[in-house]
């Protein structure tokens, strides 16, 4: 495989039915682009039937896991085929969708917003503004179905996870921790700072695909007031909300956005 200057790719063992292609050990956009590019390339190969036995790829912050059927192929065989891929080839593909997600910040929907702002030495409005100012990249999905890890949060509002995680984070909670932000699709325990709530369901098994986000998408947040939040709640419950309303065409997304860069 042709190496990128940003660090050599490593192949790591993961048993008889998987192979890890590791690009680095940090969370950063340049690595995300490399993971996305290789993922797009391999996905194309799978669709064309060029990699028999490769079941799926799983992009993470800094690696691409290949899940394979050991009865048909093997990690060694898969690694050999990958060595022939050119990392450069898929670099310019941008298959991600661009989302604009409504958030009701603060109040009972964002119980950590005030203390979070206080620690940051900022007003609540400043925190909200800075959270909304970035077009985040979805690095990967994991932890829960449909849970997208997004980054990078403005440096002025980066804080480590809560010392004491909550046993119960409500579904729809918009949260931040370190350089990442996310929306919890499900109620669960969680240690991130809850700053708001998004009324849009991120996971619906009746849909194909069942998760709204995927790695490589971008997300921006826009603050809404309680009445709009209620209205969206209603529309989502009665299934009269089309997710496409949340999508922004690529051109618009790229205009005048503050991109988080490394």
């Amino acid at each position: 495989m042709v190496h990128q200057p940003d660090g050599a790719v490593r192949f790591l063992d993961a048993g008889d039915a998987a192979l890890i292609v590791e690009f680095g050990d940090e969370i950063k956009h340049s690595t995300l682009r490399r993971v996305s590019a290789m993922n797009a390339q391999i996905s194309g190969c799978i669709e064309r039937g060029e990699l028999p036995g490769l079941i799926e790829t799983v992009p993470t912050f800094r690696s691409l896991a290949l899940v394979l059927d050991p009865l048909i192929t093997s990690p060694a065989e898969m690694a050999d085929k990958l060595r022939g891929l050119d990392e450069q080839a898929a670099q310019n593909q941008n298959l991600g969708r661009h989302w604009l997600m409504p958030v009701h910040y603060g109040g009972s929907d964002g119980p950590d917003l005030e203390p979070f702002a206080a620690i940051a030495g900022l007003s609540v409005d400043q925190v909200i503004h800075r959270h909304q100012s970035v077009r985040y990249s979805v690095y990967m999905l994991g932890f829960q179905p449909g849970f997208g890890f997004m980054g990078d949060v403005d440096e002025s509002i980066r804080q480590p996870r809560r010392r004491e995680p909550r046993t119960r984070v409500p579904a729809g909670s918009v949260a931040v921790a370190n350089q990442l932000t996310a929306i919890y699709p499900w109620e669960s325990p969680g240690g991130w700072h809850l700053i708001g709530r998004c009324p849009i369901p991120l996971f619906n098994p009746q849909q194909d695909p069942p998760a709204l986000f995927r790695a490589g998408d971008t997300v921006k947040f826009r603050g809404i007031d309680p009445s709009e939040c209620d209205e969206l709640d209603q529309r989502c419950t009665t299934d009269s909300f089309d997710m496409k309303e949340l999508q922004i065409p690529g051109k618009l997304a790229n205009q005048a956005d503050t991109h988080a860069t490394d």
Partner: protein
């Protein structure tokens, strides 16, 4: 139509799972013991990947309404049926049986294993995202996304040829060795990595030589083991940037006790993984009971693939040499329904 009278501790519809969705945070789920699913299905004449019911412990009871069914149980289960007239008979595992209408069928215990697999001829549950497998965390598959409950009705497409009485030897991980000592310490083959570098060299040696015992915390997500502490190279090495997890991943959190992830595990995590258990050996962590001692056996990737393929061949062979049981069990109530003597004339007419 079958009705669940009691679901026991936990009974879940499973099949070969829903691969292809890990990139959305959805694990493949699926039967914890695919070999048993394949054999039980073969015994009742189903295709290998027909959904089955994974019975955790015992207590599953179902009633048969209008049409007879054929069932087979894989495992060490104690099962029985009671016909409409109250007659009971015990039903051996590793053998298919006809159960007549009006009867109830019960798996009272999974025996020396934590679970048993029940196959029903023509079982046709609803699919969701391509699979009937139950994934409770996201309410996928199963019955409305959940485990079986009393009152549930299962849809069965009745088989044309109601032929039962097929049987086979038990298919157990320790092939050919049924002696009690054989299960003192069960071997689990694993490949070092992906984060074997996070651990001291001595720790790797310990992992592959010491005994680890199954704790109570073992379920479809993973099995926590207790044994000599595994030591990370540094405090920093105790966490990694979240990386992909696959079934078989052996995570080692800060407390140094390994967790082997299974079918329902999260798809990514931040603990270093010292090794990955072979797919064919995962069933060992699903069936043996709390207190079972294990020893990890180091193999390289090439051997791992060979072992998994050999295991597959073994299961294939097992499914292809079914024999007719000598004492093929016949359900008396079914017999009563058959008009065995034709052309009887009413003497008084």
């Amino acid at each position: 139509m079958l009705r669940i009278e009691s679901a026991g501790l936990l009974s879940l519809i499973q099949d070969k799972g829903r691969p292809g969705l890990r990139h959305l945070g959805i694990p493949a789920s699926g039967a914890l013991v695919p070999a048993w699913m394949r054999v039980a299905n073969a015994l009742v004449g189903n295709k290998a990947d027909t959904p089955i019911i994974e019975c955790h412990e015992g207590g599953l009871q179902l009633s048969i309404r209008d049409q007879a069914i054929i069932v087979a149980v894989a495992g060490d289960a104690t099962a029985s049926s009671t016909s409409a007239n109250g007659a009971s008979r015990s039903l051996k595992p590793w053998q298919s049986h006809v159960i007549g209408p009006g009867s109830t069928f019960t798996i009272s215990s999974s025996g020396r294993f934590r679970l048993a697999v029940l196959a029903i001829a023509g079982f046709s549950p609803t699919m969701q995202l391509g699979s009937a497998s139950t994934y409770l965390r996201a309410s996928l598959g199963g019955i409305d996304g959940r485990e079986l409950q009393a009152g549930d009705e299962l849809s069965v497409v009745p088989a044309e040829n109601m032929e039962a009485g097929w049987c086979c030897p038990p298919l157990l991980p320790n092939e050919g060795d049924d002696s009690p000592r054989a299960t003192d310490v069960i071997s689990i083959a694993a490949v070092p990595g992906p984060q074997q570098d996070a651990f001291l060299e001595q720790t790797l040696q310990d992992f592959f030589s010491e005994e680890y015992t199954l704790t109570r915390e073992a379920d479809r997500m993973g099995a926590r083991l207790l044994g000599p502490t595994l030591i990370h190279k540094s405090a920093a090495a105790r966490d990694i940037v979240s990386d992909a997890i696959v079934p078989g991943s052996v995570q080692v959190p800060g407390n140094g006790q390994p967790i082997v992830l299974l079918a329902d595990a999260h798809t990514a995590g931040g603990y270093p993984k010292i090794a990955t258990v072979l797919t064919c050996d995962l069933e060992r962590l699903a069936i043996y009971r709390t207190g079972q001692r294990f020893r990890f056996q180091q193999v390289d990737v090439l051997s791992a693939v060979t072992l998994t393929r050999q295991h597959n061949k073994r299961v294939e062979r097992h499914c292809s040499v079914l024999t007719k049981a000598g004492d093929a069990t016949i359900d008396p109530s079914l017999l009563m329904q058959q008009n065995l003597i034709g052309g009887v004339v009413d003497a008084k007419a």
